[in-house]
């Protein structure tokens, strides 16, 4: 196992290197520094070389190996849930239920599905024998692993977003290196420990670290890179991948809008929005409801409903509630504070707004009609702030959404069938959910991924297997049938025949070429 020196490099300020102020960590750093080897370029090269050798030796290709590794991942979930919950609490203040259900349980389902379906997934796709152009040949599509892949995960769901792609990589038969996020250090460390303990380290490895380590890894040639994180870093990843023509999956983010129609069941709507926003890592999720669009007329009812349900969920003093994650670190806390303090924004708060930097807590905060060009409406919030933008007419929501980068998710609450259809067809987003929030993430039969600024590629269920596979076309041709028309010398006669065939039936021409007519 390679352990990197963990530096508290903040994502949005790569040049700075901070040391965690908490004294216990300082002590830990000092002792760890003494014991630990710094990850260098040669280490990255050696790592990839070793994994490539394992891959070339066929270690990861067999069904047995893949299933064994998946089952070991299941054992991790079964045997170490309390430690996972604890690490998530250390890193994010995540409530036990969120850790248990939205990380561990989802992973368990993902693993079980892969184990159950793997044989099917691995089987070649037969191409229709009756296809005119292939007859009398037969064809199939064979799934083959790409080779040695890199998974870079995020800090907000550190277990889910690390292991779920790894499930895909392993089921598809690849060797894989995982780099968890340094902004969730307890989780990163636990992942490194558990994966080394349970999985085949000749083919599955964890590299901990920050910008330095990631950069070193990105210089290597990978057969696929799977990244979850910000659009800004997504660009850097793709640029690095381009040097080696490495295909990528980028699971990024965006401002996921929620459109609320006045005919909706407001109580359920409010509950689902709250559960989907503050109940999912306190708004720090890629598909978190970012802002609300509703009519001026309906907006007060929406605010009332939200206030009512917020109190029901988190009590009169939400800052004391144990049912919400905290803000991940002071960097993000300051980022969110700045958003709230901006002129013309701070006076639009209608609920919440309390902050506590020491505890890294910000109360669930609702704002109404902040300027559309304010910070809070220009970048992904990723926190417990919910702006409501009111419109004269709900129709205007389409223009508002379309004028912004394509988000990872777009939500609509309505009973109006026509509106649902129009929304689904015309709003471009990674995924659309009507009358609920975020649940599509848990559905393995729906591809989960972005479009435009919110990403490229998708995964979950079989889509994960596909993401890490090359679908190789295989054509089996016989020696029967070899039309002269295929070969030189080209006479005008041949051309005439070809043209005549074209005019009669376009498909005939290929039967001729393949020597069947």
């Amino acid at each position: 196992m390679i352990i990197g020196v963990r530096s508290n490099v903040k994502e949005d300020n790569p040049a700075s290197l901070g040391i965690r102020a908490q004294s216990l960590s300082v002590f830990a750093y000092v002792s760890v520094y003494v014991m630990v080897k710094v990850f260098q370029a040669a280490d990255a090269t050696d790592l990839v070389t070793e994994l490539r050798r394992s891959f070339d030796d066929g270690v990861t290709r067999g069904y047995e190996w893949r299933v064994t590794q998946l089952k070991k991942l299941l054992l991790i979930c079964d045997n170490h849930e309390p430690e996972i919950v604890s690490a998530l609490h250390d890193d994010l203040g995540k409530p036990e239920l969120e850790s248990s259900v939205y990380e561990v349980a989802l992973l368990r389902n993902s693993i079980n599905l892969a184990v159950k379906q793997l044989k099917d997934w691995m089987a070649p796709d037969k191409v229709a024998k009756t296809s005119l152009t292939t007859f009398p040949a037969s064809a199939e599509i064979v799934y083959e692993p790409l080779g040695v892949v890199l998974v870079i995960s995020a800090w907000n769901y550190p277990f889910l977003l690390s292991i779920d792609p790894v499930i895909g990589a392993i089921s598809a038969g690849n060797a894989v290196v995982l780099k968890p996020s340094e902004l969730a250090p307890a989780s990163s460390s636990l992942l490194a420990k558990l994966l080394e303990q349970y999985l085949d380290s000749s083919a599955v490895r964890v590299v901990e670290g920050a910008v330095t380590e990631t950069t070193l890894l990105l210089e290597q040639k990978w057969d696929k890179i799977f990244y979850t994180g910000s659009s800004r870093i997504g660009r850097i990843i793709m640029m690095a991948a381009a040097k080696h023509l490495t295909p990528v999956v980028l699971e990024l983010g965006g401002k996921s809008p929620v459109v609320i129609d006045s005919d909706t069941n407001l109580k359920i709507t409010a509950k689902r929005i709250i559960a989907g926003k503050w109940g999912c890592n306190n708004g720090q999720a890629c598909i978190s409801p970012d802002y609300i669009l509703t009519t001026k007329e309906f907006s007060p009812k929406v605010i009332d409903a939200l206030k009512q349900e917020l109190e029901a969920f988190y009590g009169k003093n939400p800052m004391e509630s144990k049912d919400m994650s905290r803000i991940v670190n002071s960097n993000h806390f300051d980022r969110l504070s700045k958003m709230l303090e901006e002129k013309e924004v701070s006076d639009k708060i209608v609920y919440g707004g309390q902050k506590n930097r020491d505890k890294l807590k910000i109360a669930p905060t609702i704002l109404v009609d902040v300027p559309l060009d304010s910070q809070i409406m220009s970048e992904e919030i990723f926190g417990p702030l919910l702006p409501i933008i009111t419109l004269n007419n709900l129709e205007e929501c389409f223009d508002v959404i379309r004028s912004r980068p394509k988000p990872l998710a777009a939500y609509l609450f309505t009973q109006n069938q026509k509106l649902k259809e129009r929304f689904a067809l015309t709003v471009s987003a990674g995924g659309i959910v009507v009358n609920d929030i975020a649940v599509h993430l848990a559905v393995p039969t729906l591809p989960f991924g972005g479009v435009g600024e919110s990403g490229m590629g998708s995964y979950h269920g079989k889509f994960s297997f596909d993401a890490f596979s090359h679908k190789k076309a295989v054509l089996y041709k016989s020696f029967i049938g070899d039309a002269a028309i295929r070969y030189p010398p080209y006479s005008t006669g041949k051309l005439r025949l070809l043209k005549a065939l074209v005019n009669s039936n376009i498909l005939e021409i290929f039967r001729v070429i393949l020597g069947l007519s």
């Binding site: 064809a139 790409l146 009507v434 490229m456 006479s491």
Partner: protein, 481 residues
Amino acid sequence: MEEVVDQSLREMRDTFASGRTRSVKWRKTQLEAIIEMVKDNEDKMCDVLFQDLGKHSTEAFRDELGFVMRSATTALNCLDKWVVPKKSNLPLLFYPSTGKVISEPYGTVLVLSSWNFPISLSLDPLIGAISAGNTVLLKASELSPNASAFLAKTIPSYLDSKAIKVIEGGPDVATILLKHQWDKIFFTGSPRIGKIIMAAAAEHLTPVTLELGGKCPTIVDHHSVSKDMKSVVKRISGGKWGSCSGQACISVDYVLVEKSFASSLIEMLKPMIRSFFGENPKESGCLSRIVNKKHFQRLARLLNDPGVQASIVYGGSMDEEKLYIEPTILLDPPLDSEIMNEEIFGPILPIITLRDIQESIGFIKSKPKPLAIYAFTKDENLKTRILSETSSGSVTFNDVMIQYMCDALPFGGVGESGIGRYHGKYSFECFSHEKAIMEGSLAMDLEARYPPWNSFKLTFLRLAFREAYFKLVLFMLGLKK
């Protein structure tokens, strides 16, 4: 030029925003227009292909015109099926929610095509982009100037010019284009340029499909195909020299054969070449020429390497003025020569001998993953080994090049030979974003979904997620802790 690009982009984006290209009727009209365009301009198209590449009209028709017409027809016939949303089965846990996947056009896409099949490599991706409902800008290669000019002039009079545009030019124009944000970029060409395209796309997080190349090996297992050897030789020769004189991404680049059979193979190839092109291939009119001086000089350089010169067993003559290189066979050129380390893209065929045909696997693996692997064999073991131990865009047994015609098969590379795929429905998918749609019900609600959290809700959700419905019921009835 910058202004032209800006204006074109703006117009295409407005057209896309208007929703016109989303209608199936519009898409079908455009596809029909492409077929009409090819039918009306057959002679002109053959003419430009002859001017740019010396292609015989039969070859032009077979590889380009006919292919495009077939591709457009397939799209026309299948479009109604392709645009239908795909229903997804949701786990019971999510009842009564429903889910489906809609194929949505990316928006405004860029197609950069190559010079060797300038008509089909331009129009085929165009067909994909249009059937998926996008607006598209096509830049054909400046190395096939007549074809490029033809497309620039003719496409606007057949297709919706507010949605489908053509621009001409070389690297400088490409550079301007790549500075802009596109919703998808489709590129056919060399790996070197592919890297530049992908890096440019990264600035805007634009997804790419890169159809690149590589050295496509052809394994001849003479033990198992001896009865059909004449057909083997014919197919290899036709594939190599009969299609743009070896200047194709899926061309037979080199042959792997056992040493004991090499000379027999060569002695069969020679008369086959003569039967195709006569005693003087230069005058046959059936052999495409080299595209331009630069590529001619590149190939001449490959051939003039002393080690390579010494390995020539057939052909080798060149005429720079006529951009002609004779169909040439090499026997065991040095493995470290340039010709054995870069994609040849010309009418030179190295034959590499091995002690045992099984060694072909290791040989192929030592090189970057190619776009195609061809293997003439009936040995099931060898077939299995090739499939499972090598990696390539595709594998074709007992023929060459033909996988290109099978639009039921995805056409694309892996590793150095490319990213993404197209042909048939894969073209449609290539230019579509697969958007997941999920619809929940406002009628039913589950209290356990919501804070404040407690151990009841935790257990409930745990059981629900495990789809342990029986245990869940017991739990609800208080019969299980």
